[in-house]
């Protein structure tokens, strides 16, 4: 094309302008594509990340992975936990979800509202610990439903990438990362939110501060699940809930996309960034822009991949499934093994209270292994790519989860039998109990949403009778 490059228009956006509408006046194309995160995406293109597609169905993670209902029982995640919908719904989903999820309050706006940083600076703990609805009420009326916004990712001056999240700055300090290249910035824009975190608590599990990242001991390109677990088990500040079945005080892990992807995945090592795949350039007339309608590349027909890969979209899609099918199979192995160990711990607890002689040595060893298994399972379950972001690491983490869960199981069976308690070969999980009548909406098990083991191996370990569904 003949015409001269048009430089980014500087100085047209007021400092600390929060409203995307205003930014959109200067950059209408990006704004329009950003608005599209509201639209449902094509149905039937993604195998495992359905949810708010054109069929408008919301997908219930606890029905997709029934063992999770048993394991997360005890707090909000065990009541309602859905597949994500899209950036437009960030706050809306918090409002619509069962309120057991938003108990923590204002701190929950950290990755939802662009105002979070400013409000923490202005109002501190008053805002952070405010009831969720009240905290939301503190925001300017017209911005109470506005999620990830221009100002979260961009400098108003030159549109360069930046961050609007202090928890990320704290995290980067923990791993000693200083200068960020442009390609790294295309990752960090997402790492503002697609990372695991904990809400610091006091001994009564009451909110004690702003969001923190469990990255102690990690480094750039190397935040391992081992690092994360070591950090999360250091003290009570990271203990966020009590698991009902086992009675254990527990930390938790959420959406560690950044951590898994950057741990030496083939794409990370090849210099590929999140934005390359989730915000691919899109032709818009005679020039191209970054597509701000962030979603699953499968639902965008893998356009993002096509410039780097010469294989057909079908080939690429099927290759994604090759990895995801295997992840889902190992997930069920790890999930049901961990659930089985949890039920044996429950049994050991009740019998001990009834006076049975549960060997403390074996019990404590089993508890230790169980925690290791659980946190590894949650790490991969909460990560949103079903292994695609990093296939070899996903296999490693799930293999270890299976090993730890089963170690707990053997030690528990040993101590139970020793105490005169016999156990059937396959531990009864009573899953129906945990899935029925959840929360105010009285959510139930949605059989049609369950993911069965694509390799059909799980039935050997968990026959229907043991599953109890």
């Amino acid at each position: 094309g003949p015409s001269e490059p048009q430089p980014i228009k500087a100085g047209l956006i007021r400092d600390s302008e929060f409203d995307p509408k205003e930014w959109g006046k200067v950059y209408p194309l990006e704004y329009e594509s950003w608005l599209k995160t509201k639209e449902p995406k094509p149905t039937g293109k993604s195998r495992y990340k359905r949810g708010w597609d054109t069929d408008k169905i919301m997908y219930d993670k606890l029905s997709e992975y029934p063992y999770a209902a048993l394991l997360y029982n005890g707090w909000g995640f065990g009541v309602e936990y859905n597949e994500p919908r899209g950036h437009h719904f960030a706050i809306i989903d918090q409002v619509e979800i069962d309120q057991s999820r938003t108990k923590a309050g204002g701190v929950c706006l950290a990755c939802k509202s662009p105002y979070h940083k400013t409000f923490v600076e202005k109002h501190g703990m008053k805002y952070l610990t405010a009831k969720f609805k009240d905290a939301l009420g503190m925001l300017p009326a017209k911005m109470r439903e506005t999620g990830p916004s221009c100002i979260d990712c961009h400098k108003n001056t030159d549109m360069g990438l930046t961050t609007n999240k202090d928890h990320l700055k704290r995290g980067l300090k923990l791993i000693g990362k200083k200068d960020i290249s442009r390609q790294e910035a295309r990752i960090m824009a997402c790492a503002q939110c697609h990372i695991t975190y904990y809400v610091p608590r006091d001994r009564e599990k009451k909110v004690a501060g702003d969001v923190q990242l469990p990255w102690t001991g990690g480094s750039w390109g190397n935040i391992s699940i081992e690092n994360i677990i070591a950090d999360l088990l250091t003290d009570f500040q990271r203990i966020e809930w009590k698991q009902k079945v086992t009675g254990f005080d527990m930390p938790f892990i959420r959406h560690p996309e950044f951590e898994l992807f950057t741990r030496q995945s083939v794409h990370f090592r090849a210099g590929v960034a999140c934005a390359d795949c989730h915000m691919p350039y899109r032709r818009s007339g005679s020039y191209k822009i970054s597509d701000h309608d962030v979603t699953s590349p499968l639902k965008a027909d893998l356009r993002a991949c096509a410039q780097c890969h010469t294989e057909s979209a079908t080939w690429l899609k099927d290759q994604v499934f090759v990895t995801q099918d295997r992840t889902v199979s190992l997930l069920s192995r790890a999930g049901y093994a961990t659930a089985s160990a949890a039920k044996l711990i429950e049994l050991a607890n009740t019998r001990r209270d009834a006076g049975a002689a549960i060997d403390p040595g074996l019990y404590e060893a089993a508890k230790g292994a169980y925690l290791q298994a659980f946190l590894r399972l949650v790490f991969i379950s909460a990560e949103n790519s079903l292994g695609f972001h990093n296939a070899p690491e996903t296999g490693r983490v799930l293999g270890d989860s299976i090993a730890y869960a089963n170690r707990a199981e053997s030690l528990l069976r040993q101590t139970l039998v020793k105490a005169g308690v016999d156990v059937p070969m396959a531990t009864p999980l009573e899953l129906a109990k945990y899935l029925a009548g959840r929360g105010e909406k009285k959510l139930g098990f949605r059989r049609e949403q369950e993911f069965m083991d694509p390799f059909d191996t799980q039935k050997y370990f968990t026959p229907p009778v043991a599953k109890g569904l």
Binding site: R182, Q183, Q307, T314, W315
Partner: protein
């Protein structure tokens, strides 16, 4: 390695010689030496020629449109002399790697050319520190028979 440096010197010397020649050669020759067919006259260039031809995408343009500076005539001719000489020397000395790769300078030239032709297309994005072909891997010439399979 010793041979390689020897090659570079020879190329340098040859370049000067060729430059003076080029200044006076009839434009017919310049046209000839700008045709992909000319590049392909050398078997070392055959692989690249094949892919350039097969991938269709840039069949309408010439090798030199990407591989020589096209910001101004003089620069174009100078580098045509240097690169051309380097190629000729390498070829007849037989001293060149099995797997030919672009030098740093070659990459700079190429990227400038990408932007030259696609300036409007990329006018809104930051073209920053990245080679266009880190995404547009098709324009590289390392395609194999398995590409484009359904």
């Amino acid at each position: 390695m010793i041979q390689m440096t020897w090659k570079k010197y020879l190329a340098g010397a040859g370049a000067l010689a060729l430059l003076t020649v080029i200044a006076f050669v009839p434009h017919g020759l310049l046209d000839q030496t700008s045709k992909p067919a000319f590049c392909n006259a050398c078997h070392p260039m055959h692989a690249q020629y094949e892919v350039w031809f097969l991938t269709g995408l840039h069949r309408g343009i010439k090798c030199v449109d990407c591989h020589l500076p096209n910001n101004n005539e003089v620069n174009h001719l100078i580098w045509k002399g240097i690169d051309g000489t380097k190629d000729v020397v390498s070829f007849f000395s037989g001293v060149y790697p099995d797997h030919i790769t672009a030098t740093g300078h070659a990459k700079t030239v190429i990227k400038q050319n990408c932007i030259r032709c696609h300036n409007e297309m990329v006018s809104r994005i930051s073209t920053g520190d990245r080679d266009c072909w880190s995404c547009h891997r098709r324009v590289q010439h390392n395609l194999n028979e398995f590409s484009y399979r359904e």
